[in-house]
Each structure stands twice: as structure tokens, then as C-alpha cells.
């Protein structure tokens, strides 16, 4: 169920012709494609509006309507959004948030995947008494609203002396990435043929040797899926960024929100939209590049999450 396999396409509706689509302009096709095109337009509209707005100058925005293409294309809003937009605290634009997000995302992705893959491996191949119980707690825990666990974590981090630092936030991301990733890896490792594992055992390989020399090389696709899941998830996070870091470490989403929703100054909608695109760019690029793997990631993460 969790796998979006490319099954044989389902033949539907009327018509005995089977595989080949019927003449392009049948009423049925007009209805289907018409609906799909309207829906597609609706989904694309905000992206279009973002891009168009970010390329206009403020005078043009005040005069025109938000859907019209720019008369005079300017990249100034982009430069401003990146380098000089003000958040109320400082005026060095989104660049600071971008680099913070990079410094948060990369280690978080690596740490969370490292931990979760080993966990999943232990759960799939080296069960011990109670391992399933802990795993069940973990999976059920994925549904608990973060708000319930935030404050205890603040206390734990404060006791460890890393509250407000990037290290603390990275730890938090690793913790909350764990349920879905562990599930992903556990199911994947469990689906590998058991004979491989047994043969390696007979040859005398231990826990880590099997992990590094057999499981890891065989599982690169699932690592990529996990990476896609984590990069977009962590980049898009807002709540943990606000709660667990100090303002100088705010990730891009938080900074974007502070720029756009800051109350002082004249609203510069073009700069706001440029900033919004810049923040959305990383996950969007990941999405467009990864294509099917992204779908597989969310399906695997979602369906049994």
C-alpha cells in the first residue's frame, strides 16, 4: 500500500478501446483535461504571482493588479531581500537566515539519518527484548503535538547547556525526525532478503560490519529518500527554530516571517515576495530534481507514519 508502484494503468469509464486514448476532443476528454487544467492553473497561480510581484517595482505594484506581468523587470527586490531587508532586529536581509538554515539543515540531516538508519537496522535484524515496545512508543510519539513536548525539551537542553544554540536545534531535529526515519529504514531493511544477513553472520561479521559493508551499500535509494524527506522538512521548520534558537541563529523561515510581518516601515511587497521565493527555493529545487523519489518519500513517511 505504501509503495506508489507503477501498476498497470487502470482502464476506466466507457469505451472498449483499451490502451490507446480516444480521439482528443471527445466530451469525456474535454471534461477531464478541462478540470485538470483549471486545477493546475489554481495550483500554479501563487507561484506565478510570487514571481511576477518580485520582479516589479513598488510604483507598478501600487498601480497595477497582482496578476499582470511586469512592464519593467527589476531584480532590485531580490537583491534587497537577500542583502538588506530589515527584520526589526537587524538589516542584513535573508542571507543570514539562509546560512543559518544551511548550518542547521546539513548536520541535522546527517545526524538524524545516521541515528535512524542504525536504529532501523537494529530493529529489523537485531531485535532484543523490548525493542518493539520502544519502537511502538516512538511511532505513537510521532503523533503527539510538538507543543506537548516543547517545554520539557527546553529544560533538558538548558540543563545540557545547549539551549538557544545550533547544536540544540540540531539535536531537536534529530529527535523529531527519528520516528518517521526509523520506520522508513526498519521497513526497508526488513524487506531485504534475510539470507544475506544470515550468510554474513556465518562468515563471522558482527553488528557494525554487516551494517557498513552490506546494508549501507545496498540501501542507497532509501538513504536518498530519507535525505529528501529531511532536507525539505528541516528547511521548512518554523516552530523549532523560534523556540530553540536565539535570534542570531534564526533559520530562514523565521527570518522570512519577521521580514514580511514586521510592523515598522513601509510594506515592500516586491521585496517580500522575492524573500518568499528565496526561502521556498531550496525545497522546491529538491522537489523538482528528485521527482518520483519525493513522492516515494512522502508516501513511505505518510502512509504508515
Amino acid at each position: 500500500m505504501s509503495d506508489i508502484a507503477i501498476n498497470k494503468p487502470v482502464v476506466a469509464m466507457s469505451g472498449p478501446k483499451g490502451r490507446k486514448p480516444k480521439p482528443l476532443l471527445s466530451p469525456r476528454n474535454i471534461m477531464i483535461y478541462g478540470t485538470l487544467f483549471v486545477a493546475a492553473a489554481y495550483y500554479l497561480l501563487p507561484l506565478y504571482v510570487m514571481v511576477v510581484t518580485s520582479l516589479k517595482g513598488m510604483p507598478e505594484i501600487r498601480l497595477g493588479n497582482i496578476f499582470s506581468p511586469p512592464v519593467e523587470i527589476t531584480f532590485e527586490p531580490w537583491v534587497k531581500a537577500w542583502a538588506t531587508a530589515c527584520t526589526g532586529l537587524n538589516c542584513d536581509g535573508l542571507s543570514r537566515g539562509f546560512w543559518n538554515s544551511v548550518r542547521i539543515t546539513i548536520p541535522s540531516v546527517i545526524v538524524s539519518i545516521a541515528i535512524a538508519s542504525v536504529n532501523g537496522y537494529a530493529l529489523a535484524n537485531w531485535r532484543f527484548k523490548g525493542s518493539e515496545l520502544f519502537f511502538s512508543i516512538l511511532v505513537v510519539g510521532a503523533f503527539i503535538p510538538y507543543q506537548v513536548m516543547i517545554y520539557p525539551i527546553v529544560i533538558v537542553l538548558r540543563e545540557m547547556g545547549i539551549y538557544g544554540t545550533l547544536t540544540g536545534l540540531i539535536l531537536v531535529h534529530s529527535i523529531f525526525g527519528m520516528p518517521i526515519l526509523t520506520l522508513l529504514f526498519r521497513n526497508y531493511f526488513a524487506s531485504l532478503p534475510e539470507e544475506l544477513f544470515k550468510a554474513a553472520r556465518i562468515d563471522g561479521a558482527g553488528f557494525w560490519a554487516i551494517y557498513f559493508r552490506i546494508m549501507l551499500p545496498m540501501s542507497l535509494p532509501i538513504f536518498v529518500v530519507a535525505m529528501i524527506l529531511q532536507v525539505t522538512g528541516i528547511w521548512n521548520d518554523f516552530l523549532f527554530g523560534v523556540v530553540f534558537t536565539r535570534p542570531e541563529y534564526y533559520p530562514m523561515t523565521v527570518q522570512l516571517n519577521n521580514i514580511v510581518n514586521s510592523v515598522q516601515g513601509v510594506k515592500e511587497y516586491n521585496v517580500n515576495m522575492a524573500a518568499t521565493i528565496l526561502t521556498g527555493a531550496v525545497p522546491l529545487i529538491v522537489y523538482f530534481v528528485s521527482g518520483r523519489l519525493f513522492v516515494r518519500g512522502i508516501a513511505a513517511g505518510a502512509v504508515k507514519g
Binding site: Y43, V118, L138, N187, N257, V286
Partner: protein, 301 residues
């Protein structure tokens, strides 16, 4: 913690030791954070903690205050409206799109890419874009007015009574692609012979969907429902970005109430009580599902 060492076999603890060591992060997370943290919050919700958590029990005081607070009531009402409509609409739209996509259309990949891309964006980005599109001075309202319909009014974000629907529009834009994907996977999982059989019997397609396919996809619907529902309870960033809870308190949601009381109003007890209520809401959704899914015999992978 790990071993459950039996008294008669003292080295039980050390069997499979590497696996246990490797599982320490998972065990700690599960026990300390998920279990411990949740219990901690529930326990402290019965105290009168203000700036710092203190174990000074006051019974159900915090909950009484919570349910007497107009802002909490508004939050709950908003969550109910938002939750109800976003469940209905995302299931209906998601299923319709999936059914259309399942007609052996051309450019299926292109359409899927378009429907799903908002899901890759954060709620902050989503909220800000729709804040701009729904902007009364420049957005949809002004565009329609400039076309000649001067009395046209569509200003959800600044109208308290309908602001939550403005948020709903943005949320549906962001989330229906995922539902479509899950539904499409479900549709693809249905045996082609069923379609053949229903065609041989001359049953119209819409009836095949209504009476055969949808009942067969029950597990997919239930899983999707649980995913959407547990996402709804957590809604926070979207509201912060799109309206900051305004105008006034008209678009407040429980998750925001929790955050504001814990980290801004320095009223921890209220925050804990509110988050416990969120926990209960999720439990009401999850427990029956988990029971159905995992209760009767294990089916795995």
C-alpha cells in the same frame, strides 16, 4: 533500562549488546522525550507554574481558566471549522483529482508535479503568498473590482467572521496534493479486473467508484484521514505567517495559544493545560485508529 535482565540469567543484558547500544538514542527519545516529556507536561498542567515550572498543585484550576478564556474558545471554534472543512475538502478534492489522474491521461507526471509542489513549500511561504493574494488593496478583491464589479468584496484576512476560511484556502492549496498522491496510490492498488467486471455488467463508472472502489479503498481513506487530522491539530506556522492570529483574536488556533502562553505571556500552567487539551484531541483521533490498525494481529511491512 534496556535489558529486562532475568535474575536467573545474568548475562542476558549483554546479549546482542551492540544492537542495544545502537538503540540507545531511540530508547532515550522514546522514553525520556516522548513518554517522559508528555507525562511531565500533563503533570505540570495541574500546577500554577507561571514564569518557571513549579510543583504547586492547584487541581483543575488551569483548565477552568482555559475554558473560561475567550481566546481559547475562539481557538477551539476555529480549529473545529478549519478541521471540518479541511478534512472534507481535501478528501473530496484529493480523490477527484486522483480519479481524474487515473484515467490514463497524458502528461500525468506534469500534472502530479504541479499538484504536489505546494507540499514541498513551508507553511510560512504558503501563508505569506496567500496573504499577498488575498490582500484587499492589491489582491483578488482589487483585481475583480478593477474589472468593473466595484462592489465585489472578498477580504477574508481582515474580516473576523471569515478569516479562518482565508487560512483554509491556503491550507488546501498546500495539502491537497499529498492527499491526491495517497489516493492515486490507492486507486492504482485496485485490481484492474474489478473495472473489467463492472464494465461487463454495464455499471456506470460513477457507480463503480461510489459502490465498489471507494469501499475497497477504506484503509487508504482511514490512513489519509488520520494524517490530515493529526496535521490539523498542529496547525500553527500557517496562521502565524498569514494573519498572526488576527484581526484581533479572530484566527487564533490552539497551537498558537500554547506557544504564546509558554514563551510570551510567561504563564506556563496555561500553556501546559492547553497543550494537554491538544494531546487529548489527538488521542481521540489516534487511539481508535491505532487499535484498528495494530490491535487485531500484526500485519507488517
Amino acid at each position: 533500562m534496556a535489558g529486562h535482565a532475568k535474575t536467573d540469567r545474568p548475562n542476558q543484558l549483554f546479549r546482542n549488546l551492540n544492537s542495544k547500544i545502537a538503540s540507545i538514542p531511540m530508547i532515550l527519545t522514546a522514553v525520556v522525550i516522548f513518554l517522559g516529556g508528555t507525562l511531565w507536561t500533563v503533570v505540570y498542567s495541574f500546577t500554577n507554574s507561571k514564569l518557571l515550572p513549579r510543583l504547586n498543585f492547584v487541581g483543575l484550576d488551569q483548565y477552568e481558566r482555559l475554558w473560561a478564556a475567550p481566546r481559547w474558545i475562539v481557538s477551539i471554534e476555529n480549529l473545529a471549522i478549519y478541521g471540518f472543512f479541511s478534512l472534507i475538502f481535501s478528501l473530496v478534492i484529493g480523490f477527484l483529482l486522483a480519479a481524474l489522474m487515473d484515467q490514463k491521461i497524458r502528461f500525468e507526471n506534469t500534472f502530479r508535479t504541479i499538484f504536489l509542489y505546494p507540499f514541498a513549500l513551508s507553511f510560512i511561504v504558503t501563508g505569506l503568498v496567500w496573504q499577498w493574494i488575498l490582500n484587499p488593496e492589491f489582491g483578488v478583491q482589487s483585481v475583480v473590482r478593477s474589472l468593473g464589479w466595484t462592489s465585489f468584496t472578498f477580504d477574508p484576512l481582515y474580516t473576523p467572521s471569515i478569516v479562518i476560511y482565508g487560512i483554509l484556502i491556503a491550507a488546501l492549496w498546500q495539502g491537497t496534493g499529498l492527499v491526491m498522491c495517497l489516493m492515486l496510490a490507492g486507486l492504482r492498488g485496485i485490481d484492474e479486473d474489478i473495472w473489467k467486471a463492472s464494465r461487463v455488467d454495464g455499471i456506470p463508472a460513477w457507480r463503480t467508484y461510489g459502490q465498489i472502489i471507494i469501499p475497497m479503498m477504506r484503509p487508504v481513506f482511514i490512513t489519509t484521514l488520520v494524517i490530515i487530522a493529526s496535521g490539523i491539530v498542529k496547525v500553527y506556522d500557517l496562521v502565524v505567517a498569514q494573519t498572526s492570529g488576527g484581526p484581533g483574536i479572530a484566527s487564533e488556533v490552539p497551537a498558537k495559544y500554547v506557544y504564546d502562553y509558554m514563551f510570551q505571556a510567561q504563564n506556563l500552567g496555561q500553556g501546559f493545560a492547553a497543550s494537554t487539551m491538544m494531546l487529548i484531541t489527538v488521542a481521540i483521533i489516534i487511539v481508535p485508529w491505532a487499535y484498528l490498525e495494530f490491535g487485531g494481529g500484526r500485519k507488517r511491512v
